[in-house]
């Protein structure tokens, strides 16, 4: 009853909402300072960049929700 507003949204629209949530998280992570991301690592390398890890994760999720 409380979510009756969403009954009007077609399944395509629902998918778009889910994909947008994933995309917002992916983009937001890039706003974090590198100093925070690398905290604990003395000599950071590319593999230590956790922003790249998150980006890869979210792209895979977006593809999954686009397909299914």
């Amino acid at each position: 009853m409380f979510f009756s507003f969403f009954d009007k949204i077609p399944m395509f629209g629902a998918k778009i909402i889910v994909i947008l949530v994933l995309a917002v998280i992916m983009i937001s992570v890039w706003a974090l300072p590198n100093k925070y991301i690398y905290k604990g690592i003395d000599k950071p390398k590319l593999g230590h960049n956790l922003k790249l890890w998150v980006t890869g994760l979210m792209i895979v999720q977006i593809i999954i929700y686009m397909i299914f």
Binding site: F3, K35, G40, H48, W53, V54, L57, Q61, Y65
Partner: protein
Amino acid sequence: MGIQWLDMLIIFLYFIGILVIGFIFKKYVKSSEDYFLGGRSLPWWAIGMAIVVSDIGAHEFIGGAGGAYRFGFVQGNYDWIGCIPAMVISGLFFVAYFWRAGVYTVPEYLGRRYNIWIRVIQAIVWTLFMIGLTGILFWIISIFLNETLGWPMYISILVTAIVGGICVVSGGMGAVVMNNVLQLVVMFAGGIAIIGLGIHASGGMGNIVDNINNLGPEFADHFKLMLPTNTKTPYPWTAILFGLAFVLSPAYWIANQSIVQKALCAKNEWNAKAGMLWAAVLKTFIPLLIVIPGLIALSMTANGLSDGDRAIPFLIKELLPIGLKGLVFAIFFGAMIATIIGLASSAATMFTKDFYQLIAVKNKPDKHYLLVGRISTVVVLLLGILISSRGKIFENIGIFAAMQTMLAVFQGPTFAILLLGMFWKKANSAGGLAGMITGVVAAVLMFIFSKQIFPGYADPFLFIAWWSFVVGLVVTIVVSLFSKKALSDDKLKELTYSSSAINE
């Protein structure tokens, strides 16, 4: 049952391996920090693998495959939208701050941020939940081994408790994590074997799809990840997004001690963050190992199983050859042991640090609390055994839904106060306590009157999670605005997120 001496030998060797890990790590346990947090020395890859095993264990394999058998692909949401975003947020923000604060438990963080009562209430609730979950897992083990080997229930439970108990009591959290690492490797291997043999026996994935589609119109949505709002399953997309992805999942990945405790074992902050993200990478593959076996069982039996939770035992019995059958038995048995010892260790940590050391017996030497930690681990296992004797009550509603229902009562309000505690400096002691209590009461009332409030939904636990979160959030904000700030600015800087703090 088709179990041969080679299978039994493999199971026996696997148990020996679990015991050896416990004895190896015993020499590293000199203090309560070694016992509860592995001496804060573990690398990201081990932490990530341990987190995944803590989460999925065998209950997700069996309960998740059961869910896929009943509801289809939508079950995959529990590991994708229902995990990955929350794990990213947990790893990059909450786990990092918990690690910086040097806490042993999530309730300890809440105690520092709000007050001692929130810490004690949270610790009691989580400890009771973990004891309950341990009982359910013991019960699942007995179903699994009764279905596949014909073992009496009490034999399965006792073997699990003794092997797992020796491992965790000897080696502490370090042994638990290394046990989990071993477990994940063989779990992936066994899962792939079941899928490969199942697809082969079914004549290919196309046949599986055709067989399920031919079962009737009620199976038409079995290959959809998102279901419309009028679905009769517990998983309409609105519930998945608002209840699962926005509330239950973050609450689980941020507040669940058995998950967070693994990350707190990290040797530095980067390893804590990376451990959680590595777990998210591994979790991406888990639905394939869980959902597809459920669909294979549905296709092979034409919906002929008495209970969806019997899908995995059915596949093992029907598909696996001698030797491999023993290995997969060992994997599932080991997965259950790994999850149970993780829960027992976390429950013991909270009892020792958030209750015993905090209130009951203060200022004793560290060796005393190490001993209490070991004894309380054994007590948790014994209570789990006791609860497992009543486990039959969960049979009719499915294992997975039963556990989610238990979580939904208090996870929404807990997430609300954690979220505000981390990101809103004005949240204070009175607000947090009021928000948590009213949120839990609201959740309980919604469960009692669920038929009137959520007509048409067989099990509306995801909606209840959302609304109890909203109640907890609103009450915490309102009460905090109308009451005094309790913490100094220096304390708040240490415990709350701010753009200046993350640069330090």
